[in-house]
Each structure stands twice: as C-alpha cells, then as structure tokens.
C-alpha cells in the first residue's frame, strides 16, 4: 500500500507557484528523501502535505485517503511533522509535558500521563526532563522532545524537515540513530527533507532530487555509493557533496 501519493502537485505562495507538478508515490514503511538546494521547494511540499501551505492544486493522498484543503483532524492522527529548528518549533513558555499532552487533549485521548511518559522514554529522555522548559534543554534534547511530540498520536507517516541540520555532528548521530530505531520499531514511513546527501544514505531507501520547484530525478539511495545519477543537475549536486566526504 502506498503511504503517501502526490499527483501533479503545484504549490503557490501569494499566487506565485514554487512547486511545479510534483508527483511521487511512497510505499508504506519506506523512507524517502527530498534533496535540493534552498529555494528548490522541498520544504514547501511537506508544508502542503501537513496543511501549512494551503494554496495548492493537484492531489495529495495520505494512506489512501485524499487530503482536502481544510484543516483535517484525522490526518493529524496519521501524519505528523518534525521541524528543522528545535529552538524555534517548541513553545518557549510550555514545558515538555504541556507540549506533549496538548495533542492528546485535542483528540480526547485517555491515559495522558502514561502516554506522555512512554513517549519521552521512547525518545530516550527520562522523567527528569518532563517538566522542563525548552530553554532548560540542550539542542539535541529539544529535538528529542519535538520528535516525541510528533509521535504522541502514533502516526504512521512522519514528515521530517531537516531534523538534524541545526545540530552538531555528534548530536546529529544520536538523533539519526533514534529516527532509524523508531522507524524499525513502529514501521513508520518517513518523508525527509535534507540537503545533506550522506544523511540520505544513512536513513533513506529512495530520494527525489529537486531543482527550482521541480523533481528532476528519483533515484535509489544506493546511487550515492556509485554516483549513478542520470540527470546532470543531480550529478553536480552529488559532486559538490562528495567534497564533504572524508
């Protein structure tokens, strides 16, 4: 079954289209990456899927259900997003506990206390961290809280917008390991946005390379091993990233 289907998706901001005719299908349990430079429209696709960029045409299907333009509560149960910057995406005046229980309150789910505790344990934070404010946490701990928040409703699809680019390499390794383990344990589907190709190699099965709002190529992650890209732009991006490899 496909977890996520995009059909000729065009997304606009203020009437200016920034993503043109994007089509892709991601199987359930797959980990898929969108790569490209800034301004290539990769984050915009994620925003359109989760409803933050409502001006789109074409089709979006999540787990077989087409997504409308209005806010959709049932979609939130299936599909959640983790943002790039944990410094900006957590409410500065809410404790981890408040952030995590909010989704449960909205969806009227029982056992809030136990669920919050479980979610924190899942991301490797012990109970000391439950009532802390974001400024009392390090960058890596904050990103763990943000991931726990996304997991609260037990979604099957996770949208990850550069989840590690604001973090140090050593902390990045911890978060990447965590994401890999969560996917294995819960059978999650990932759609990951990144400009870091080695991260794709570690975490993903396939990737779409984007340029100026268009998908120029869809390649398996193994293309990173041998550079077997067909499009010229993908090859130049690969060559530029090669340099960052030790």
């Amino acid at each position: 079954m496909t977890a996520l289907t995009l059909r000729n998706l065009t997304v606009s901001y203020d009437g200016t289209p920034v993503v043109h005719d994007a089509s892709l299908a991601i199987a359930e349990g797959e980990s898929f990456a969108l790569v490209g430079e800034s301004g290539s429209g990769k984050s915009t696709i994620l925003k359109a899927i989760c409803g933050l960029a409502p001006d789109w045409t074409g089709g979006i299907e999540v787990l077989g259900k087409p997504r409308g333009h209005a806010p959709d509560r049932s979609l939130a149960r299936d599909c959640q997003m983790v943002f790039q910057d944990p410094y900006g995406s957590l409410h500065p005046r809410k404790t981890g506990d408040a952030v995590l229980s909010e989704a449960l309150a909205i969806h009227r789910l029982p056992d809030r206390d136990a669920r919050v505790e479980d979610a924190l344990a899942e991301v490797g934070l012990d109970r000391r961290f439950r009532f802390r404010y974001p400024h009392q946490l390090s960058g890596g701990q904050r990103q763990r809280v943000a991931i726990a928040r996304a997991l609260m409703l037990q979604p099957r699809v996770m949208l990850l917008d550069e989840p590690t680019s604001a973090l140090d390499v050593s902390v990045q390794a911890e978060i990447l390991n965590l994401l890999k383990r969560l996917r294995r344990d819960h059978g999650l589907t990932y759609l990951l946005v990144t400009h870091n190709l080695p991260v794709v190699g570690f975490l993903c099965d396939r990737m779409a390379i984007m340029r100026r709002g268009r998908i120029v190529e869809i390649a398996p992650a193994t293309a990173l091993h041998d550079g077997s890209f067909t499009d010229d732009y993908s090859r130049s991006l690969y060559a530029a990233s090669q340099g960052t490899d030790p």
Binding site: S38, G139, P246
Partner: protein, 275 residues
C-alpha cells in the same frame, strides 16, 4: 614567521556556581598559514576567535597573552584596538543575513569598511569596491553594489561579507563558521574563494567550524577543542590518523556517502562532560 601567538588564553563567565572558564588555557601560534579550530557547540572555539579581536565584553573576562605582529593586543587602548580590527585582523561571521546592515546598500557597506581605515578620494574608493567585488567573483559588480542585503542570495551575501572583510587588506582573517548557513553547492565555492584570496595575499587564516572533514580540506593544521581546551593538534593530512578518542569520536559520528553502518557511533558524554 609568527603572525599571531596566543599564550594560555582563558575566557571566563560568571555562573550561579562561580566563574566558569569557557576557554581554558588555549595556546597556539599562527604564521601565514591556514589553521582550523574544530569542536562542538560550547567547546569555546568561537570565543577564542572573539577573544583575539578583544570582542568579549563584561561580565566576560579574558586573560593570557595575545601577540599580533609583535604588538601586545592586551596593552592597546580601545582606540588603538579599533585601528587593528578590520584593518589588520578581520572576521567573517556565520550568517550574512544577520551580519550585514539591512538599510545600507552592499556597495556602501564595503566602502565604509575601507573608508574607516583609509582616507581616499571618492573615485578611488569606488574603484576599489568594484575591484574587490570582482575578486570575490561577482559578475556584475556595479549592479550588485547598488543592492540591499535582502536582495542578494545567501552565497552572494557571504561573498559580500568576505569582500568587506578583505578590502582593507588585513594580515589575518578569522572565519567563524563562514559556510554553515549556506547550501552544500555554494559552500565549496565560498571556501575556495577564501582559500584563493588568503593564498594570493599571503594572509593567515583561522577557520572556525564544527565540520571536521571540511576543515581538513581547507586547512594546513587543525586544533581540536573540547570543553575550552585544545585536546589535539595535528596536520590536516594526518587527521585520519588522529589519536585522541574525542577526535576519533567526532570523525566517526559523521555519516558517510558510502554509508553501510547500521548505527552511527556516538560520543560517550560521561567521559566528555562539558559539551
């Protein structure tokens, strides 16, 4: 020849539990070469760069020797220090979006950097700005000089900043994470540009970054910092044979293009407290 020598540099800040040394006895010498300082956030690498320019304000306290071209920087007055900042030692900051003046055109900002240190006729000033923009490989310098920072891309903004820092022809350039706000494809261009300019002008470069492989590519020598101390110094070409466990941990934690590992090795924070 030694351009800058740093001797037992210590920077401390007050905390509720007394003063903490954020930079703790760092010593190194820099000639006309490219030196990289690597470490995680909180390792004190940026503060080392700022301390050299004497940019640490109270309640921060700096001690230790700073000798630049035979002058003791600590002995200079604020006015004398201003004459050195920019003219002899300059610093490229991380994010051009926050470090350029948003209400001044790019050309005026570059001209201001030069004008502060040298009185020149206006025509000469304009010609120098034009030549500088060309040397940072901006194709249409006259048009770009009239743009405001919000009208240029990140990569171009960083070139503008480099132009601004190099136009007074300093002897030492400190680049603090000059490319971490940029795309991978632009990163290499900017670093190669810094590298060319530094070589052509025979300057010294202090490149501060958390990206070990990147620093290894553009520097001659590397200092690895952890918790305010230099834990290892090595030639960039010898990085793969680094001996210190912290350096090895940092190297191993980077995902590779040919990734086959199922899990990335993680630093054991109990041994490396402080970061």
């Amino acid at each position: 020849m030694t351009l800058l020598s740093v001797e037992n540099l210590t920077v401390s800040f007050p905390t509720p539990s007394g003063r903490t040394n954020v930079v703790d006895g760092v010593s190194f010498e820099l000639g006309r070469e490219r030196l990289g300082i690597v470490g995680e956030s909180g390792s004190g690498k940026s503060l080392t760069g700022r301390a050299i320019l004497r940019l640490i304000r109270p309640p921060g306290r700096v001690s230790g020797g700073l000798i630049f071209e035979g002058t003791d920087l600590n002995a200079l007055s604020a006015r004398q220090m201003r004459a050195i900042r920019g003219a002899r030692i300059s610093m490229v900051m991380q994010d051009p979006r926050y470090s350029l003046n948003p209400v001044m055109t790019v050309g005026d900002q570059i001209a201001e950097a030069l004008h502060t240190h040298e009185r020149l006729p206006r025509a000469t000033l304009r010609a120098r700005v034009r030549a500088m923009l060309e040397s940072v490989r901006i194709d249409d310098p006259d048009r770009v000089a009239r743009l405001y920072p919000h009208e240029v891309s990140g990569g171009m903004g960083q070139r503008v900043m480099i132009a601004m820092m190099l136009i007074p022809r300093p002897a030492l350039l400190i680049a603090d994470e000059p490319t971490s706000a940029l795309d991978v494809s632009v990163q290499n261009d900017v670093l190669r540009l810094i590298d060319d300019l530094v070589r052509d002008n025979g300057m010294g470069l202090l490149l501060i970054s958390h990206d070990l492989p990147l620093v290894a590519r553009y520097c001659d020598r590397i200092l690895v910092m952890n918790a305010g101390r230099v834990v290892e110094t090595c030639e960039a070409s010898e990085l793969a044979h680094a001996s210190h466990p912290y350096t090895r941990g940092l190297l191993a934690a980077v995902p590779r293009m040919h990734e086959t590992r199922d899990e990335l090795p993680v630093l054991d924070r109990s041994t490396w407290a402080g970061t």
